[in-house]
Subunit: 572 residues, 2 copies
């Protein structure tokens, strides 16, 4: 294939691009832009930035992704969870509203871009797999809940500091309930109503009125735009900003961001590195998950390595545009796909429309109430709060379910960064704990067959002088003493024993600590006139053992190809 | 058994105690005390404390261990590596020579005691297994090297700050080589010579002179005492402390420590917790390792749970005596054993002798040169610097060898605490990395047997329509996508495939992430008209799967008892 085609998936798609594909892309691009403009401004608030920075993040990064991305319908740009993470990170190093705050966010974009490209260059993209399903689920639900609760300040008109915990927000709300601005609340609830109605009811209503589905469907996705219009009209018509103190977006500077305005601050990088790594991994994980789901609906696949590059360069684009990190979002990607996006041309169209909004429409946002943007955010994150996955996990594996719950609670209690790190730590600790106390089965012969199974589960024949033990785990530092204790305890119980056969068909590697323990075990058993044998040692493990003097160290002990051969040779 | 006998192993040993046992214990106790007095003072210097605190740590803790410990010959008290760790920990929070410094060390003893008892109460003693053989080896060598180098200040008479890195010490030494006190150096080297001669040569010399072995052997273990006498006599005889500025121990307060003088400072505990945990684990690990080796020489075993209690209470004893944490030391335990200790009565005798020294002998230490104490330390730690284990590791498992080397380097570069934490982190990361890219073998039938082995290693028969894959690892979040990719890539290569059999005999558990991936894999393969089957699923894993709808989800796929049955049923 031509190198251009492998570097730029878009070039490949354009080879078979048709007029009908373009019409689909155009429609999807417009619909996504209609969501993107209000969401962009809302997410910028969430990240602690002025609203235009959300729009700045919706132009160059989208164009970059359109060229480099391997997903046809992933909608890149500002997303809720990354915005939350950016806000809670930068809030530690700078005061909101200052130049230093904005510049720190831009440095963060640069770092996220570099981290993603480094992960690709070092072929470390797979470390994202260490964030387990349970951790992701617990983290996402908690972050979505935090985001929804953080919008209470816009609905209530109260001044609620962003660093408060969820329960403190409710405390504050209870104590200041009489100071809630009822008009602001009304505007917010109206916006929610408009959003809910457009999403859930408008389509049926229009169709029942005879509007064709291909017109009704797109309409039902323009909820954010209707909410913006309703909210702005309410404020403008009744002068709510002056008469009822309803907080609005106000003046947004018209025009494009200054490119290359970043002041690189290496002193910040040390502090920003871990957050940047987490934002990279979470952003990458969300993008790849959504991208995979959407690709599989077309029986296609995305290439995670290519996504690392595309998202990495998209974040460099965010840094160049002087704004904060981007990722592929869940909600807008779904809309993009269901609106019919065929290629990333749809993203190019969205970016173009956001650019036009910045050039011409910003005066229209003057009366846009912040409560309406809050409603847009709340509607976007509610689908992310998911309790059913806990129930499913619980049935299958209690440890996973507890990890999910712990991550959820810790994110709420400690914040997003420490919360997710603790979740990852817990999932790894549980994994290690599980493998440090491996399952060891005493096995016997099934009937007259060559098969040996657990005596506790099957009706099998055992032998008085030969004990066969199947070790169901690789042997390494954390479990080797447990295995040794188990074998010695079994031997202490059976006085007539002459041979112990360790069945290694589930032992995938042996480390140096385990080798030392095995050597000691040979000696300890020999003291009790018992010979240790091995059976079903796998090729790679046998290669390892042959590099040492372990086989000679076994003395009279042998290594058998199968357990059957071992038992025939040994048992009286 | 009477509860007294199970709680106090000593009570059990005393049931068969004989006059000859007591004579052995007495001799061993005296020999250990002769080592303990100079080592105690030297290790106290290493911990940044006045010399008497090493002696305080050699009375009550020994008595406690004598009552509660399950090892007959473990010699508890101040030890080199723990002293180094205490010094580097407390140095961060208080200035050496202040009351605050001493009090912090006493708080650390209390915390170490509590941590050890908590580990017992929570049945978490096995977390010590997470410090792998390689990490221990790398850490011990590096710590011993640091300790040896830290004694250069006593040999040279130069003022070398304790927080310097090893290479900085040599830099400083090179730049101030003309300011080295030659008399101090001479005293130090003389002490080293006396120690080396007594240890390696005296025994042969005495035996060749006709002294009976039972008198010559103990003499050869009194090296530290000879060194003390020689050193003190040199200083006293030639007035080296005033004429040549040789630094000496000086006045040591006579008498016992004030008991219960500790001021508990909870504000410190937060900072001291991680160091206390590490000191507990390292101290416990060293004690149990030595104890196990010595017990196995008598064909006995020690009880790690009982050791947690004994060492925990011994450290509470250290806190009560107003001194710093203790552990079971390598060198003195070996001497105690080879000097013939039969029971912990030997430790009681050592403690008694240290007590008598504190009451009556402290004036004798006035002229004791610090260089002699440095020589005692250097001789004690040199056996701990061990390069052969790296070579052995390298042959068996490169990853273990690299962990050892990395821990060694990181301890030298980052200090004991961060160094060992990094070592543990690296060993766990390598373990996870290994299991995240599991070995997966395509297997075929061996001859006409029921056995299936790796096609790459054995001459086996395979089938065009049925692929048998053996997954050599449990399936969990970090490796599940790797396995999925592998299976899909194999299927893409073989166009005639109708069935894939995953052989799960090495799969010991499946977590929620893996279950989800398997469900997706079933669907993806079904899209390509391939049916997924399982074989040799272990009991615990099958139980897990039966709790979910996975088996129905398999559709036409089946779960076979053996690979043989699967291949007979499926392949054309």
């Amino acid at each position: 294939m031509h190198p251009l085609l492998t570097t730029f998936p878009l070039a490949q798609w354009l080879q078979h691009y048709q007029r009908s594909s373009f019409i689909s892309d155009l429609l999807a691009g417009v619909i996504v832009a209609i969501m993107l403009v209000p969401q962009g401004m809302a997410y910028a608030f969430l990240a602690g930035l002025p609203p235009q920075y959300g729009l700045y993040a919706s132009i160059l990064p989208l164009m970059v992704y359109a060229l480099l991305g391997s997903s046809r319908s992933l909608a890149v740009g500002p997303v809720a969870i990354v915005s939350l993470m950016v806000g809670s990170t930068i809030g530690q190093f700078a005061d909101q509203g200052t130049d230093a705050y904005i510049n720190a966010a831009v440095n963060l974009s640069l770092l996220v871009g570099i981290v993603l490209l480094l992960l690709r260059a070092l072929r470390l993209g797979s470390i994202v797999n260490f964030i387990s399903h349970s951790v992701t689920a617990g983290f996402t639900s908690a972050a979505a809940l935090m985001i929804a609760v953080s919008q209470i300040k816009y609905f209530s008109g109260l001044n609620i500091p962003r660093e408060l915990h969820i329960w403190e927000v409710f405390d504050l709300l209870a104590s200041q309930i009489h100071e809630i601005n009822p008009v602001t609340l009304l505007v917010g609830l109206t916006s929610l109503l408009v959003l809910w109605f457009t999403k859930d009811k408008l389509c049926c209503l229009l169709e029942s009125m005879g509007v064709p589905a291909r017109a009704a469907q797109p309409m039902s996705k323009a909820g954010p735009m209707f909410a913006l219009i309703t909210g702005s009209l309410m404020v403008w018509g009744w002068q709510l900003d002056s008469s009822a103190d309803v907080s609005t977006v106000g003046t947004i500077p018209t025009g494009l961001p200054n490119l290359f305005a970043i002041r690189i601050e290496f002193t910040l990088w040390q502090d920003l590195f871990v957050p940047a790594l987490l934002i990279s991994l979470i952003g990458f994980l969300e993008s790849v998950s959504v991208g995979t789901v959407l690709a599989s609906k077309r029986r296609e696949r995305i290439d995670p390595n290519r996504e690392l590059i595309a998202l990495g360069v998209a974040n460099l684009g965010a840094a160049i545009s002087g704004t904060y990190p981007v990722a592929g979002g869940f909600g807008r990607s779904m809309i993009n796909h269901s609106a019919g996006a065929q290629t990333t041309i749809a993203s190019l169209i969205s970016a173009l429309l956001v650019l036009l909004s910045l050039l011409f429409l910003t005066p229209l946002f003057y009366y846009l109430p912040k409560a309406t943007l809050g409603a847009v955010i709340v509607m976007a994150v509610i689908p992310l709060i998911d309790f059913s996955s806990f129930r499913q996990c619980w049935q299958f594996n209690k440890a996973d379910a507890l990890t999910l719950l712990a991550t959820f609670v810790l994110v709420l209690a400690l914040g997003v960064e420490l919360g997710i790190l603790s979740g990852i730590g817990i999932s790894i600790a549980l994994l290690l704990y599980r493998s440090s106390q491996p399952h060891i089965a005493v096995v016997g012969r099934v009937g007259n067959s060559e098969h040996f199974r657990n005596i506790a589960r099957h009706d099998v024949t055992t032998y008085a002088d030969t004990l066969a033990l199947r070790v169901d785990e690789s042997l390494y530092f954390a479990n080797t003493r447990y295995v040794e204790e188990f074998v010695l305890a079994q031997c202490a119980e059976q006085k007539s024993l002459r041979h112990v056969v360790l069945i290694f068909n589930a032992v995938n590697f042996i480390d140096a600590s385990a080798l030392e323990t095995l050597e000691n075990l040979v000696l300890k058993l020999r003291d009790e006139q018992i010979t240790l044998h091995l059976a079903e040692v796998k090729g790679p493990v046998m290669d390892q053992l042959l590099n040492t003097s372990f086989i000679e160290h076994l003395g009279d002990g042998q290594v058998f190809f199968t357990t059957d051969q071992a038992m025939r040779a040994l048992s009286g």
